[in-house]
Symmetry: C2
Subunit: 212 residues, 2 copies
């Protein structure tokens, strides 16, 4: 059975998983400290980094394994709100979006798909979590679907009980503001078995596997 997976979701000690004030200049808003341990070069394999290969790298490298489609919230695609302006925006990533699969962007303002030569295609859909997941599963063709964030999107899918696997990385920082991950999810851990380890970087990695 294909799974629905979340990877490398960074959460501060006070429960924030993204920053406020996302702009074109600051794609991660005020939350730079959350991502300071992340090394995006490993998302398609540990060979992407120079030495050393760390435990953190090993765990981040799960991101792309066996993934056939992603679902993301609109703010992960761009900072615009309401109607899309006619600004030629095609995401934060230039001509090489790292996804290399179909990506479903949740928005109340559908628009034409965008296709890139490296296998990434963005589809803009006004859909519930269940509907979006069905579209993504069809596109993924028996591979797993990644819920790519941001935190509001992950929370919506957790509330709908659609997440099978979640890799959370707890970062030893206190943000004080931002987008909260765990709101309205009291007791969510009862649906999962959670394994934790801490690494020499100070991160605590948790693997949440949904109970069957």
């Amino acid at each position: 059975m294909p799974r629905t997976r979340v990877h490398s979701l960074f959460v501060s000690l006070d429960g924030y998983a993204a920053g406020d004030h996302v702009t074109l200049e600051k794609p991660i808003g005020d939350a730079g400290a959350l991502f300071s341990k992340f090394d995006g070069r490993v998302i398609h394999g540990i060979q992407g980094v120079d030495s050393p290969i760390t435990m953190d790298h090993a765990l981040f490298s799960m991101w792309g394994q066996g993934i056939g489609a992603e679902i993301m919230g609109r703010r992960k695609f761009g900072p615009q709100q309401d109607e899309w302006p006619d600004d030629g925006w095609n995401g934060w990533w230039g001509e090489e979006p790292p996804f290399r699969t179909p990506v479903f962007v949740l928005t109340h303002y559908p628009r034409e798909p965008l296709e890139f030569a490296n296998g990434t295609s963005f589809y803009f859909v006004d859909a519930s979590p269940q509907e979006a997941l069905r579209l993504a599963q069809d596109a993924a063709d028996e591979s797993d679907v990644r819920i790519g964030g941001g935190p509001s999107t992950v929370r919506d899918f957790l509330e709908a009980d659609l997440i099978d696997f979640l890799h959370v990385s707890i970062v030893p920082v206190v943000l004080g503001a931002g987008v909260r991950l765990w709101d309205d999810l009291a007791g969510v851990e009862e649906r999962f078995t959670v394994e934790s380890i801490s690494t020499s970087s100070g991160l605590t990695h948790q693997l949440w596997n949904r109970n069957r």
Copy 2:
């Protein structure tokens, strides 16, 4: 720079990394307890296992990432000794050897290569570690080379200071006999930086990265 890597090398508390008495019927000899936590379904990605996806799975899944060739000792390929008998032996793995790359088998008895449809080719070479590594690096074409074991082969490459990365999994068993990994390697840790974690299965994983 391409690396020379060792993955998922299981070692008992008393330092054994393979069993004695390897036969056609018992490819791992008397060391079954060493491999009881291993799940080979993840070597090409965590999507290979059903839930749960564990920390152990995540770490084992590094095995194939960015690897362009493997070097193995003769006993990993088969239990025969001395001259190869005319027995049609083509390895333990049937028609789907898991390697999917060129594999260089170290033997004092060279023989014709074996090629499989899934991208695996076995080359039988009478070579020093340095010579074998040069052949494998040429075949790997800028990707990393895996030293696939067994333990005597890993030890030879460690002695020659040819290993850049080593993933050791310490298994909480006492074997009392077998093939020892660490013989003649006193002080080898000084050449590496070692990161350790323990997982809920009881394994202790170590990532050894060679100091530059």
